[in-house]
Amino acid sequence: MRNVLAIAKVVLLEMYRRKEFYVLFILTIVICLIMGSINIFNDNQIIRYLKDLCLLLIWVSSLIIAITMTARQIPAEREQRTLLPLLAKPLSRNQLIFGKFLGCWIVCGLALICFYAFFGALAASREHQWPLLHYLQAAFLHWMVLGVVVAMSLLGSLVFAAPSSNSTIIFAICAAIMCVGRYLDQIAAPMHEPARSIVYFIYYAIPHLEIPFGMRNLIVHDWPIIGWNFVFLDALYLLAYLVFFLIAAGLIFRRRAIN
């Protein structure tokens, strides 16, 4: 575990000293503040649209951070040749993969704390309420989704040659799952074989990231919080995918020649 934490610490330092997160965070703040300062048609419910758009921006920004940061981890180590002195130490390849994953996941968690704290402050300034439990549930499941995305990007970085192609593919997959993932069974039902079986297979095989994505509605519409047992069940479901992607990455990386 010591080696894993050492690798994760370097990932944290890298993100702390690079500018991507700050740029995205400031951009999100500026867009949200501009939107928050206008009131179209004097609509009393305008705060709902504002909250919806802010949360959507937070989801997009967090996905960009998670995917771009993770996709370049292993390729950058190969390109700069830092992988060689690193693996020449008593460090296994699985420890390297897990360390990179942990570092990226922690960075995503810290980014989410900043994003949700800002969102909470902005929403509280208009609504004069602070539904902490809603934020906690939404942020926790959001972080679990980012864990799956980070693991998927790490696996992609071992399969695809360039970080840019990996980032684009993973982002497209995530967007597709969040937009149409829940409707795949309805799309499959009227289809003929074998297309029907294929679409059903995809429906049951993909990680359904749209469930935590839908948690936005609890905050936007001030709905009551959902049961914690459901939250932990969904977290377990996402954890299973996260572990699957990490094991696959470990198996691919284990026998890969490094030179």
Partner: protein
């Protein structure tokens, strides 16, 4: 003197991904032995298999057949790398870290923490003459300084065996001299150094024994004086052993 680095009929084949391409044999039954306290020069023309041999010794490449061991432990076990230091050729270390942070990171992988890590970091930075630049980001280092911080990371665990892949490649004469001095000091401390190089002059100066490989096969191995017998310089001996004849070219 005990053998601490050994390869036994090491063979590495690379299969091309393109259809119809033949299998390339990078190493063909290589037998090597390096004993404690030796400075061992590993020579060969470009593409001879020097880096592939080092990659096998460090577990980066799986041999097609044969075996390799460090301190009697199969190189596939991470623990075989506990007592070694390795300096790869042309590495660009994490530019967002300072020299000291880089060494602390590598020290933590060897379970060196606290006062023990501080002591080793101080010693290695002084040895490679980077003490004054320890708080500077690596991206501000010159090429020679980057090579020396690389040497410092290879020495952070006070290794018994140091593997250097073309340590003076691309350095100016002053940088080469500094690296050569460090190897000489390690030799005086009784460390084992295994290094590949094209600088035959420095090999002649610092090495006890050398091995020459060409096209993946061992052509000669022995003490420097034995290899040079009948030749005025190591360079002449090297060219003769690899079968290069000036009048043919």
């Amino acid at each position: 003197m005990s053998v601490i680095l050994k390869t036994d009929k090491l063979r590495v084949e690379y299969r091309s991904r393109e259809l119809g391409q033949a299998v390339k044999v990078a190493l063909n039954g290589l037998d090597l032995e390096v004993s404690t306290g030796e400075v061992f020069g590993f020579l060969g023309p470009n593409g001879a298999g020097k880096t592939t041999t080092i990659n096998c010794l460090l577990g980066f490449v799986q041999p097609t057949s044969g075996a390799a061991s460090l301190f009697g432990i199969d190189v596939r076990q991470p623990i075989a790398r506990q007592r070694i230091g390795y300096l790869p050729e042309m590495t660009y270390y994490y530019k967002f870290l300072t020299g000291e942070e880089l060494l602390r990171f590598y020290a933590s992988i060897f379970a060196l923490t606290g006062a023990e890590a501080d002591k080793r970091i101080d010693q290695t930075l002084k040895l490679v003459e980077l003490d004054a630049a320890r708080k500077r980001l690596i991206k501000t280092y010159s090429k020679g300084m980057q090579q020396r911080v690389g040497l410092a990371q290879a020495l952070i665990n006070n290794p018994d065996l140091l593997i250097l892949d073309e340590p003076t490649s691309g350095l100016d004469p002053l940088g080469r001299m500094k690296v050569r001095d460090i190897i000489q000091r390690l030799k005086n401390e009784g460390k084992t150094v295994f290094f590949s190089s094209h600088e035959l002059g420095e090999v002649e100066t610092v090495c006890d024994r050398v091995a020459i490989i060409a096209e993946g096969s061992l052509k000669a191995a022995g003490r420097v004086q034995e290899i040079m017998r009948g030749h005025p310089t190591l360079e002449k001996a090297f060219l003769n052993i690899i079968g290069y004849q000036a009048d043919k070219n």
